[in-house]
Amino acid sequence: MREYFKNIWAAIFTVSVGMKITFKHLFVPAVTIQYPDVKPKLPERERNRLYVNMDDCIGCDQCARACPVSAITIDTVKALPTEDLKTSQGRKKALWVTNFSIDFSKCCFCQLCVFPCPTVCIYMTDVYEFSEYKRENLLYNFSTLTTEEIKQKKTNYNLFEAEKAKEKAAKAAVAPVPAKAAPKEN
């Protein structure tokens, strides 16, 4: 019997306590903001869309190797020694980066590609609204060379390699064949 009235009292009391809390919250200002009219201020280390500064990229492939989902694809062509290729700091580059594409439908924004870059040319920006209607548009190409330029660089390199091979063959024909056996003891 006592249990019965205790139950009734417990129900009424706890319900009133709960109601008091929600009533108080009616007057607390909202904690939400009216996105997209108001955008939140993101901290500086925020991990959003990547950006690659192609002037600084030396084509070392470290970022592509570090990526856990293989979102980065890099193709390079060796530069001729006569070509003057420099980063923005003045360091000499040895490779033309013909293709640097990041597939943002694969990128998991883990930031593992940012740390190994020796020239800090790949970094995360604060852009997070980059949705597209077509999935192909999420494949970002950062390379600045046009298709003709790429073809030209490749043919240059192939010619250079062919010339080097010819020179090497010519030198080998002119020079005496080095002695294979040790000179006989007298």
Binding site: T14, V15, G18, R45, A66, P68, C108, L112
Partner: protein, 383 residues
């Protein structure tokens, strides 16, 4: 999968009765993720519960064999996505054990602070969604409002709010932000009264107590036999916490209690106990954070990270105390830069196995209460 329907022949008038099979399908507002529960009902009483899993299987263990050790860390994040810091913590501890290296003290203290903040965040989700399953919509939003503050702390540290890639093998990816200590202290003072508010609103509410007390009672020996760990085991009355009993990192330097279930509102080991143990654990986590945040030593967090992780041939099993239970990593190395085998013992997978035992004899409405109280995350069940 075909279902075995038990046919019960009533001898008196020769009628065959069948149990009704109800499917709480993969798309359901209350099965915390994509879980299919096949229920055999007799009217409203449950005879059998068969969980069907695998809807969220993403081949984590197979992926890990193709990645190098640092690249596995983003994948471990995505298993138990509500407690990502702890997944990374467990993996880092396991690989460091395999390599035999010791991390700087600063790294250990920061890992503890992050881990405990993550524990509070994870418990907030568990409590909020549990309240929502029972029907109280408001505590869910209050819990998420508090969780936002924790996620902001994580955001200023490593840039992400849910999947961090912060705790690396041998150290951390970033040092903590200069404002971090101040903001964490502000958070602690902000959060303590909110636990009391949550208690007033939900924990001590008579209707909530009626729904959860004496429901889904898990006795201590059944829990141990099924391999339950974490808050579920502690709610059944058994004092077992890996932070104290199999200590790792610098947990042995802090002073905190292990709350166990005492059957305050019903029996020991019922749903209310499991809920209440989580609330008490949040308070204890606040204590740990308070102590740790003042004692962080100076140092360099990136110092101990090896350039190339190439462990010697061998294997290791190491376990940490996830917010959900005992998270174990078994890593086998064959000397190369990629692990040969990474097997994860996820606590939610084990806890799902005890559902059948817990649900026998209760009603359909109680299944939701029981499933919510054992707090599973499908990412960890299916990996």
């Amino acid at each position: 999968m075909s279902v075995e329907i038990e046919e019960k022949i009533v001898a008196t008038n020769g009628l065959k009765t069948e149990y009704m099979v109800l499917n709480m399908g993969p798309q359901h507002p209350s099965t915390h993720g994509v879980l299919r529960l096949e229920l055999e009902l007799e009217g409203e009483i449950i005879k059998k519960v068969i969980p069907h899993i695998g809807y969220l299987h993403r081949c984590f263990e197979k992926h890990a064999e193709a990645m190098s050790y640092p690249q596995v860390v983003p994948y471990t994040d995505r298993m138990d996505y509500l407690a990502s810091m702890y997944n990374e913590f467990g993996y880092a501890v396991a690989v460091e054990k395999l390599l035999g290296i010791q991390v700087p003290e600063r790294v250990d203290y920061i890992r503890v602070v992050m881990g405990e903040l993550q524990r509070i965040a994870s418990h907030l989700v568990a409590l909020g969604t549990y309240g929502m399953d029972i029907g109280a919509f408001t505590p869910f939003l209050y819990c998420f409002r508090d969780r936002e503050k924790i996620l902001n702390l994580f955001e200023i540290t490593c840039g992400a709010r849910l999947l961090y890639n912060y705790i690396w093998v041998g150290g951390l990816s970033h040092d903590i932000h200069p404002d971090f200590v101040r903001l964490t202290k502000e958070f602690i003072t902000y959060f303590r009264p909110n636990i009391k508010e949550l208690n007033d609103l939900l924990t001590n509410n008579k209707i909530f107590i009626d729904r959860t007390a004496n429901v889904g009672i898990l006795p201590k020996d059944t829990a141990i036999n099924f391999g339950i760990s974490g808050p579920n085991l502690r709610a059944s009355g058994f004092k077992w916490d890996l932070r104290k009993d199999d200590t790792y990192s610098v947990y042995n330097k802090f002073d905190f209690d292990i709350p166990i279930g005492e059957g305050l509102m019903g029996t020991v080991g019922d749903c209310w106990d499991r809920y209440y143990v989580r609330i008490l654990e949040m308070e204890q986590s606040l204590r740990i954070i308070e102590q740790a945040i003042d004692q962080i030593p100076e140092g360099d967090v990136a110092l101990g990270i090896p350039k190339r992780i190439k462990p010697p041939v061998g294997q290791v099993y190491s376990r940490v105390e996830n917010p959900r239970g005992e998270l174990g990593y078994f890593i086998m190395s064959n000397g190369s830069t990629n692990p040969f085998r990474v097997k994860v013992k996820g606590p939610s997978f084990v806890h799902l196995g005890v559902m059948n035992e817990l649900c026998k004899g209760y009603m359909v409405a109680d299944i939701i209460a029981i499933l919510g109280s054992i707090d599973i995350v499908l990412g960890e069940v299916d990996r």
